[in-house]
Symmetry: C2
Subunit: 282 residues, 2 copies
């Protein structure tokens, strides 16, 4: 179950169809990280006065439900009194395909490698572009804004690798903060090589690839990629699944006895940034 | 999945613990009407700045989850920018106990009787009292306000009678409007005897029991009682279950070939009121 709130999780000017897409995608990303095949979803929807917004949202919802093969089973529509930030909640239901245990955050072991799927930082760069804090050539711009507005988690890859991993989650709040959570839940230490954090060509055009760019990518969030720990022996099988599902996997770090998060860049220890990612209000 | 919005589904001054209770209860009511045993729930919760409100909500949530035996499995917490009407979404998951088909709205047949559980109109009278539009002696006041704020759908009765009914739903928007929906879904006509609509002693103290009071009760909504159609032959078994689960069942009408809703009072046809119940915005 994920809830998105206007002005917090999406921009008021984001197109309605992309708000719907992202709502489905963020929930599906959680299913993917648990190796669960989507079965259906339920939507809580506050009706907009602007019926064109409702129609565009519905079109985006349909596209996303078709893309991720997750039918809309039901939900609730409500009216919200103005002025209210609009808020949408979606529940995605899924089932594991295999008999293997559902991957948790707490199963990682010292000696495991840390992996991520896809590339990191694209959505963050897209948001920076939308906020006027970064720019790039038009194709890169389009790719990065698309990564922010219409993320594409890979369910097929998550389902395929779930039996191979010792712990898995999705990167939603930032690679560093989510990795720190995985380490804490598993009671192990984690070291991340910032050099190894996969950056897309579009990201490099917009932000470069120096240490600052890599720290930006690793703390930006909204990636909706898989983050997992796996024994070294699984590497060939993992890479075969990555190829089959056309979504790269990169080894970005390793787990060891102890606790906490450490960063390296060019073989040197790097101090942790002030913020590891998006911290939920509490 | 039900969503409640401040100022629409609950009053800003309603105690936080009762907002939580009602949110759980309205969802459990839907499970009861499908003969489903509660298995767990998921909550989308916007954190209040006022932590005492959060704590009171949590206490009410715990009470309701314990009362209805529905553990909180997860959900999402978000921040909403002020000023926003607060909005809570809850999903209740359940499973049918028996192998019998899950009752739909569309299975009622001409010749079936129409039944409701409990009493009708109490919550509506409670809301009228809270809005200063009605009054009653203190014990009746308390009972009616409790019916509005902390409804108690009977899961056990719903599960017990599900195999006996031809169609079932809960009364949430008003007896008349919900009965009309059942008739339309089942493609039958429906006649309701307003004399037979069960009124509690507290309701009678607040609103009386004349035709106007009965129309008020039958259109007020928020009852969260079971509304169902069943063949006459099931009557003895239905009444035995009612006794066992300490929740009365009353026959309030009958279904016949045709379409539409008709009302009778003292053996006379009564015109339909302008509003049959709460109509959701569309």
């Amino acid at each position: 179950m994920d809830t998105v709130v206007e002005g917090v999780h999406f921009l008021a000017e984001d197109p309605a169809d992309t708000v719907a897409w992202k709502l489905v995608a963020t929930n599906v990303s959680d299913l993917a990280a648990k190796g669960a095949v989507p079965r259906g979803c339920l939507l809580s929807y506050p009706l907009a006065q602007d019926s064109s917004w409702n129609c565009a949202f519905l079109a985006g919802l349909r596209s996303a439900c078709e893309h991720f093969a997750i039918p809309l089973l039901g939900g609730d529509t409500v009216r919200e009194p103005a002025p209210s930030a609009r808020s949408f909640a979606l529940v995605a239901l899924g089932e594991p395909r295999s008999e293997a245990p559902v991957p948790s955050r707490s199963g990682a072991r010292a000696g495991d490698d840390l992996w991520v799927s896809g590339s990191i930082g694209d959505a963050g760069a897209g948001l920076a572009i939308l906020c006027g804090q970064a720019d790039a050539d038009p194709p890169s711009r389009a790719a990065l804004v698309a990564a922010y507005r219409t993320p594409r988690p890979s369910v097929a890859l998550g389902v395929a690798i779930a039996p191979l991993v010792s712990a898995m989650m999705d990167v939603s709040d930032g690679l560093l903060i989510d990795a720190a959570r995985l380490a804490r839940a598993s009671r192990v230490a984690i070291e991340i090589d910032l050099d190894a954090v996969p950056l897309s060509p579009a990201f490099r055009h917009a932000k470069g690839e120096d240490l600052a760019a890599r720290l930006f990518a690793a703390t930006a969030g909204d990636d909706y990629q898989l983050l997992f720990a796996a024994p070294r022996a699984q590497e060939p099988t993992l890479l075969a699944h990555a190829t089959e599902h056309d979504r790269p996997l990169h080894r970005v770090g390793r787990l060891s006895a102890g606790e906490g998060l450490q960063l390296a860049y060019n073989g040197q220890r790097v101090p942790l940034p002030a913020s590891l990612g998006y911290e939920h209000q509490s």
